[in-house]
């Protein structure tokens, strides 16, 4: 026997720093943790999509990003229009309930503002890429894609033979984004985050990522989190930055805080149909404001009034023993 490789390959596992050190502004979080060329995921399935982070990334003019998300939605349409994206990894590219994503289509079909590479899965396949990344497995097996043309246009969809039944299963490769930006309803200053309503793939995206920026509607005391630990989806030990950004998910929604701004999703159809209109919107609502607070002022109180959530509070449960 020769070298035993003692201590080799130990995971990088960042130390959990003293909690309050993670609290910072969106501007600081993006400038510190999102770099040109990064693989970036801002997740949230319809619910809890962090537009506040996307706008800050646009303002800081990040370039050559590989954007990854099940549904590019308006958020990536805006980032693509702003020239942040080199590549898009996705599974359903539309304006949900409305129609097309025009900036995305201009980039794919006409190379405006520049050519966008795409890599396409189904929801299950892309979800499984996050699941594999989160579990630090190199691939994930799934029973899918037989009879479909998707594997013909995406060579990352492969197969594996089951060592028990001999059956051939589809596989997707793990994805480990450089940074995941996760919006949640509330967290303590250490980043222990609670989410209710739709989970989407927030947990899998966060665990898969090398760095996590957590953005929340409310910072609460650790005691609130510890009073209902089953509600915690993301543990602080995997979080690098905690940003307090109320209404940070508008025009998407945060259950218990505000409703989806469907009027804006509908309006996006006309805003984005022509490149000039979209750029004018970016100039006004993204480049024209310093931060989320100015965006909300520009949006005006009537919108918030319209979207403010009504109270429908559930009962608590007993953790006694």
């Amino acid at each position: 026997m020769t070298a035993a490789g003692i201590g080799s390959g130990g995971p990088a596992g960042a130390r959990a720093p003293v909690s309050s050190a993670k609290l910072m502004s969106m501007s600081d979080a993006v400038s510190r943790y999102v770099h040109d060329g990064d693989v970036v995921v801002i997740e949230g399935f319809t619910h809890l999509i962090c537009f506040a982070a996307a706008h800050e990334i646009i303002r800081q003019r990040r370039r050559d990003l590989t954007l990854c998300r099940l549904t590019p939605d308006l958020i990536y349409d805006q980032m693509i229009a702003a020239g942040c994206a080199k590549k898009l990894i996705f599974s359903w590219a539309g304006n949900p309930g409305v129609g097309s994503l025009f900036a995305l289509r201009r980039a794919v079909e006409k190379g405006i503002p520049h050519k966008l590479e795409i890599e396409e899965y189904s929801h299950y396949g892309l979800m499984a890429r996050f699941a594999a990344g989160a579990a630090k497995l190199p691939f994930w097996p799934l029973r899918n894609y037989r009879g479909s043309d998707l594997p013909d246009v995406n060579r990352q969809i492969r197969t594996v033979i089951c060592p028990y039944t001999g059956e051939e299963l589809a596989t997707v490769p793990a994805i480990n984004p450089d940074v995941a930006i996760i919006h949640a309803q509330r967290a303590d200053a250490g980043g222990d985050a609670q989410i209710w309503g739709l989970y989407g793939v927030q947990k899998e995206a966060a665990f898969a990522a090398k760095r996590v920026i957590l953005v929340v509607e409310e910072i609460v005391s650790e005691a609130i989190i510890r009073a209902d630990p089953n509600r915690t989806l993301i543990p602080g030990i995997i979080v690098d930055a905690v940003v307090h950004e109320p209404w940070g998910a508008h025009p998407s929604y945060a259950q218990g805080y505000y409703d989806r701004d469907n009027d804006f999703y509908v309006a996006w159809e006309n805003i984005s149909k022509e490149e000039a209109g979209l750029q004018a919107w970016l100039d006004e609502f993204v480049f024209g404001v310093a931060d989320r607070n100015e965006y909300l002022l520009k949006l005006g109180p009537a919108v918030r009034e319209r979207l403010n959530a009504e109270d429908q509070v559930c009962e608590g449960v007993n953790y006694g023993f």
């Binding site: 399935f45 009879g147 989970y199």
Partner: protein, 244 residues
């Protein structure tokens, strides 16, 4: 179409619902013959009872008052792949002779005439749901002999038959259109006409399909919607006329 699609649902079915017409059909079925229908949305809401017509698949109204919220990992792995879904609803820009569905691209993948949204959960619904119901208006453009791109597999195609591919689910069992109903032939899976709406001629239906359409010997005569059904749809389920 919504009325006829609703009738395809059986009481107690667990249904994977999409937004728009499928949602209307499911809620109509719940309000009439199938009160125990369990609605599951790919966004994670299980046993949803939305008190407004959802504007997106992830509408908060689907969550509030639902029986359970599942992560998307659980929805796809435990519910859909786990074989717990009886009915899946699908739409698509093209449906072909064997029920293959295209929601990805018109034209070539690398040089699209029209780029469509893509699969979303459609491919896995087509693979796993016990039976798939497709709702789409009939036209020769939308029903070619062969789709430009198979997003969601039907009963047969260039990759093989469902049996050859060991598909766990049954595939598209009913294609509900605005003029009639198509269903796969038990022999070879080719879609054939099995039902027809009032005042519609078989020849008119044949003209709207891109292959020589076979007609089943006993053709279901679909009754017009009743006043009750129309009232439910127009005044109760979609009062703002979002989808009708």
């Amino acid at each position: 179409m919504a009325v006829r699609a609703a009738k395809e649902l059986r009481d107690g079915d667990v249904v994977f619902v999409g937004i728009g017409l499928p949602n209307l059909a499911c809620n109509l079925a719940r309000a009439t013959h199938a009160p125990n229908l369990v609605l599951i949305y790919e966004s994670g809401a299980v046993g949803a009872v939305p008190d407004r017509l959802p504007v997106s698949i992830g509408d908060p109204a689907l969550v509030t008052g639902s029986l359970s919220v599942a992560s998307m990992a659980d929805i796809f792995m435990l519910y859909l792949q786990g074989g717990r879904i009886q009915v899946g609803f699908l739409g698509g820009a093209q449906v072909d002779r064997y029920g293959n569905i295209n929601s990805t691209v018109i034209g070539k993948y690398d040089a699209p005439k029209v780029r469509l949204p893509g699969s979303g959960g459609a491919c896995e619904i087509a693979v796993h749901a016990e039976r798939v119901i497709v709702a789409a208006a009939l036209s020769a453009r939308s029903f070619p002999a062969e789709v430009d791109f198979i997003t969601s597999p039907g009963h047969a195609g260039k990759h093989g038959t469902r049996k050859e591919l060991h598909q766990p689910g049954g595939g598209p069992m009913r294609i509900v259109t605005d003029v009639g109903i198509l269903a796969p032939s038990p022999q070879d899976g080719e879609l054939e006409l099995v039902g027809i709406y009032p005042k519609v001629e078989v020849e008119d239906v044949k003209a709207k399909v891109g292959w020589p359409l076979r007609v089943r010997a006993t053709l279901e005569q679909i009754p017009p919607p009743t006043d009750d059904e129309l009232h439910l749809l127009r005044d109760v389920l979609d009062p703002d006329k979002l989808y009708l």
